[in-house]
């Protein structure tokens, strides 16, 4: 593949956290850029390039959860952002939506990259329901903007992850969300830069992202050992991002990228595709790519990208939103009911008592969670 300049930009606290996770994985890493309003968080990060935005309007203290502040901060330092994208052919923008910097600055970053002539893919997370209605509203508005400006948008609704993370441990919940995003980005990056048997390129990804109106989700599974191909399929199908296989059942366009070491056999690729097709509707448009990653040993990874239908305020409904039922299909509502019965996340000892609700926020959920404070960053 031609040498293309790929820039990965994390915007805001969550975006920068994922940049940290991507860092140092290997020496052929693409340029990793952290963009944030919070001086302290930025200083501690591992990105190769760090851009502080809005030092005047935020004084380096973060956007305080206000997306308008995040947006102003990005506009204030537009020149710095422009400089990042010179000659870039692909820009991947990562952000957690719901906070101030991610929600406010990410659309500006995307817009700037596009104007510089790059293709832009965005990977964003939507808040857990327990983070409160305020953050959910902010995230929904920001997602609309992101979707309108980026070529393709991949979405991780965090609430879906609750099916597999430890619900009583918030640290795990957030780390789990970060990990999913990290894996998705790595998969994309591998697809684009590594030697491949069957090549998938940006245009294919874009097709998936646009197939159902502009957003897509992704999932990752891996397996090792003698029956590693099938183990990887099982791991993938069980992953939370596929919503218990529901995402597959409704899929009409799927991109599958299989990554293996030099020992990967063609028969294994066949096995994987046969198994996947069993869970997919016959009518689904399936694209396959295979990648050889020489650093992988005795392990096969499968990444799938699935187009998802765009609904306004795209998210899985659950207990917070249940009070004011959103216009959704009957199917979505029954899924929401199920979630509500099984999980009341992040409430610990208040699980069984009447919640303290004020201004739409569940006060039983720890304040630091609703305020989006990352404890891991505290020194």
């Amino acid at each position: 593949m031609e040498a293309r300049k790929i820039v990965i930009v994390g915007v805001g606290g969550a975006g920068c956290r994922i940049i940290d996770a991507l860092y140092g994985d290997r020496d052929d890493s693409p340029a990793l850029v952290a963009v944030n309003t919070d001086t302290k968080a930025l200083a501690e990060g591992k990105a190769t390039t760090k851009i502080q935005i809005g030092s005047e309007c935020t004084r380096g203290l973060g956007a305080g959860g206000d997306p308008e502040v995040g947006r102003r901060a990005a506009l204030e330092d537009l020149e710095l952002l422009r400089g990042l994208f010179t000659d870039a052919s692909l820009v991947i923008v990562l952000a957690g939506l719901g906070g101030g910097t991610g929600s406010g600055a990410a659309p500006v970053v995307i817009d700037t990259a596009r104007k510089a002539g790059a293709l832009v893919m965005s990977f964003v997370t939507l808040p857990f329901d327990f983070e409160g209605r305020g953050r959910i509203r902010v995230a929904d508005a920001a997602l609309t903007e992101v979707r309108n400006s980026a070529e393709s948008t991949f979405v991780v609704p965090n609430e879906r992850l609750f099916k597999f993370v430890n619900r009583d441990n918030l640290v795990d919940a957030f780390a789990g969300a970060d990990e999913v995003l990290e894996k998705g980005i790595k998969a994309v990056w591998r697809m684009l830069v590594m030697p491949a048997y069957i090549r998938i390129d940006m245009a294919d990804l874009q097709r998936i992202a646009e197939a159902r109106g502009g957003t897509a989700t992704f999932a990752y599974g891996e397996g090792s050992g003698s029956s590693r191909a099938l183990a990887a399929v099982t791991d993938l199908i069980n992953s939370a991002m596929l919503d218990g296989g529901k995402v597959f059942e409704e899929a009409d366009a799927v991109l599958v990228s299989i990554t293996g070491g030099k020992d990967m056999a063609l028969s294994e690729i066949g096995q994987i595709m046969d198994a996947l097709k069993e869970s997919l509707p016959e009518s689904a448009d399936v694209m396959v790519g295979t990648i050889v990653d020489e650093e992988l040993d005795d392990c096969i990874g499968i990444s799938v990208f699935v187009a998802e239908e765009w609904v306004d305020g795209k998210r899985d409904q659950s207990y917070v939103t249940e009070a004011e039922p959103a216009a959704g299909s009957g199917k979505a509502t029954s899924a929401a009911k199920q979630i509500q019965i099984e999980f009341v996340p992040g409430k610990g000892r208040f699980k069984d008592v009447e919640p303290t609700i004020m201004n739409g926020e569940d006060l039983d959920v720890p304040t630091f969670v609703r305020r989006g404070i990352s404890l891991a960053r505290i020194v």
Binding site: D168, D172, R349, T356, P366, T367, I373, L375, I378
Partner: protein, 399 residues
Amino acid sequence: MGPEPIVALEIGTGKIAALVGEVGEDGFIVITGMGIHESKGVRKGEIIDLDTAAACVRGAIQEAEESGKVDIGEVHLAVSGGHIRGAINTGRIRVLGSDKIITEDDVDSVLDVAKTMSIPDDREILHTVPQHYRINDQHSVTNPVGMEGVTLTLNMLILHGVISRIRNTVRAVRSIPLNVADVVFGGLCAGLSVLTPQQKESGVIVIDIGAGTTDYVVYADSVVAAAGSIAVGGDHVVNDIALAFNIPVQRAEALKKEHGSAMTQTESAQESISLPPEVGFPGTTVKISALNTVINARMDELFDMVKKQVGEKVIANVGAGVVLTGGLSALKDVTDLASLVFGLPCAIGKPRNVSGLTSAIDGPECSVACGLIQYAHRNADADSKGLGGWIKNLFGMKR
């Protein structure tokens, strides 16, 4: 002074306190008996398990009977809970007499009008607390009788709560069996117990932070200007810590007590606490700076909610600052944080004018029960003088 001692019972989320006290001529309370029992079956100030809660009440009462050498048949009951709200209701009448001189009858009728407020069917008025009288909507007076005016206006602070929840608490006490003489909002009691007359006059916010609820009462110009309750308390702090570090609740409670602070920048912030493993818990290390961040976020939010509910207009009339009381006022640096949030000086309030069994008066944990004795005493006095109109008794349980 009445021949019979007054018994105050507070059913809290963390503990149940029964105090036996007598009020002397000088207004001082002498505590003659007390029972403190751990509380079970209560969450956020409301009873969720009647039998368990009743057993705990029985324990506290028995202890109070033994230490006070009395038989307790009747109690005054303090209640709390996030359902309790305060609202201002205004009554206005035309002065009747042709000479426009305000009479006792005029005052009675404006009291009646101000007391009448429409509240949802599931709610009951707990207290009606008169504020200032205004003549012709102008100057404020405390006693308008004999003055001249065309209209007489009275603002009344009305505290109301959900009937079924208040009744659940009463039911638990009656099942002991005990007679309930009176049901009083705990926040008012805390104010009565910890404040000086000077503080009430210059304006003060009392915040009683318990395990399950945070009650507040604001005095401005010697009247109760606002009051209410928020169903957030020490249990929330502990729960936040337990969830943040994935540790058992008991460990979280100990961490909060021994190392936690409401402020993030403390001397020990750079230290870490290691929690040794035990059965079912693998052990972990907690950074004090992270612990304090969790506590600080919760307490900052709590004070901010009180501030918003009280409202800027009322706070502008608060000159004496903020007084914290209740179990969580023992949290390290909590006065610093409150002072920061409200922009006012802040101190810890302990029961005043109390003597007798000293452990009851040592700390801020018994502010409500001590205040309740004062309230009951004052109320009995007022009753005998025929001025008891400002207390509405629930369920007609007057003696």
